[in-house]
């Protein structure tokens, strides 16, 4: 069953179209990376999903509930974490979570143990009675995750949850997301593509407000990204670059010192052993070679380049 259904969603600011006729449906318990270059419309889309921004047209359904701008009824069914969550600095972490729990209609006996468990999950037990104003960015982000999941939502929407964090904060936050992903549908935007490889099942890629791709990560890798052959030579392969670029089986050549990266046209290049046959026929010595699987970065670059 789809937990997030977006149909023909558009958002215009005057004459500028930020999101254009976007449609997708995300199934239960999937972790979906929402990707796109800066200004692609990711944040605008997410803000429409959680009711902070009014769509120009289209419809949104989360956990079976229509999201209607200005109506908070659907808010019971999702959790939301903006890029840099802002809290009441005068509250303690515990007080904020209590306030959020009460807004969901939870009673004291219900939320007390829940908050304690969440504080353990996000590693804020020791800081629970500290004013939020004294929290570090990483602590705020983890408190942000705790407030977003206090109601055990079916859907969790996060806008760049780790981009403002240092490497330690990023790692801690990703670990928390890893723990949560078993029980909920997660949609999160990020520009750190290696994070998508680590925790996502599917990706949605948009550019200029339009959907470029929506599929499982593995399918997308198979469908779009070609293999990359990394070769280390005995001597500088400068002269080889132009010759290789003329070969039918080579899509792109990149040189770095004595190394060449060959983006291969298709899978058959390796199946037919074309690279080794080529170097052997030319009598060129090779120290080592590695065939790399495609990364999300490569897919992303390729799709955005194709769109342009």
């Amino acid at each position: 069953m789809s937990q997030i259904i977006v149909k023909n969603l558009s958002k215009k600011f005057g004459t500028f179209t930020a999101v254009s006729d976007l449609s997708f449906a995300i199934d239960e318990n999937r972790v979906v990376g929402f990707l796109g270059p800066n200004g692609a419309g990711k944040t605008t889309t997410m803000r429409m999903l959680v009711g902070l921004s009014r769509p120009t047209s289209g419809s949104i359904e989360i956990a079976g509930q229509n999201v209607v701008f200005g109506d908070s009824s659907a808010n019971k069914y999702f959790g939301y974490l903006p890029e840099q969550p802002a809290f009441y600095a005068w509250m303690t972490g515990y007080e904020y979570l209590k306030f959020v729990a009460e807004s969901f209609g939870m009673k004291k006996d219900e939320y007390s143990s829940k908050i304690e468990k969440l504080l353990v999950t996000v590693g804020l037990t020791a800081a629970k009675n500290k004013k939020i104003g004294a929290y570090s960015n990483g602590m705020r982000q983890r408190l942000g995750i705790a407030q977003a999941v206090i109601n055990d939502p079916k859907v969790l929407i996060m806008d760049e949850p780790v981009s403002a964090l240092d490497p330690i904060g990023r790692k801690e936050t990703l670990q928390v997301i890893e723990k949560l992903k078993k029980n909920m549908t997660i949609l999160f935007s990020t520009h750190i593509l290696s994070d998508v490889d680590k925790i996502c099942d599917d990706v949605i890629i948009i550019d200029k407000g339009k959907l470029l791709a929506f599929s499982s990560l593995s399918e997308l890798k198979e469908k779009h990204a070609t293999q990359i052959l990394q070769i280390e030579f005995q001597s500088d392969p400068e002269k080889l670059v132009k010759d290789l670029e003329k070969e039918d089986w080579v899509a792109k050549v990149e040189k770095a010192g004595n190394n060449l990266s060959l983006v291969l046209k298709d899978d058959e290049v390796i199946q037919n052993n074309l690279p080794m046959k080529y170097f052997s026929s030319k009598g060129i010595g090779i120290i080592s070679y590695t065939l790399n699987l495609p990364q999300v970065e490569d897919l992303f670059e390729e799709l955005v380049r194709e769109d342009k």
Partner: protein, 257 residues
Amino acid sequence: MNSFYPILKKELLELVRSKKILMLIIVFAFVAISSPILAKLIPTIFKNITLVPGMVLNIPESTWRDSIDQFIKNTTQFVALIVIFLFAGSVAEEKTKKTLELVLTKPISRRNFILAKFASSFFAIKVVFILFSAVFYLYTISIFGAMSLINFVWLSVFLLILILLIDAITIFFSTISANQLIAVGLSFLVFILIMTLLPYISAIEPYAPGYIVNHYKDLMSNGEIKNFVWPAVISMALTFVAIFASVGCFKKQEIER
């Protein structure tokens, strides 16, 4: 109304933690205590000032009426201004500080969010005003002797209605403004309009919210309240208009990043 109480609780706690309630108490306490003292001391001060050698100023002894004069003057100046400054950020500050983003993605309706802002500030103003009006009354009668309690209660009620209108207008502008500074400016302009411009338009003056400020002496002298009913009703109506308009505008507002 389930989501109303958590947000109301948060608002009341914020009034305490942000020391807004303390500032309100300080200003109301200053007005309540300084008004009778100033009324008592001003004649003595004037008597001791010799402007021209040999000239004698014949100033009558002050009475509870002078204390009331001071009370009205201070209330319309200090109290109204502190209400504008303290509550102009109610909604606007949540926009600039971005705290609205998380709150409005919880099951807290926009209507309840705005109503809680009004309810908490009305509650704080009412409690502090009633407390320090009582202090003023007791202090005035202890210095100047008897003064009509019932007439003073009516005066306080009409003044409170006026202060709550100023608060409602301030929160309305806080709701529609992008930041606190704009809200302060717009609220202050309307305050000037109500207090100084409307009384000059003779056709409007008997119904103007600021009527009490210019005619309180009649009320304190003869206890006749009928002339004050219409301005009070209109003030309350305008207060409700400000509340409904705030809710209506806020429901349509997109929360910008």
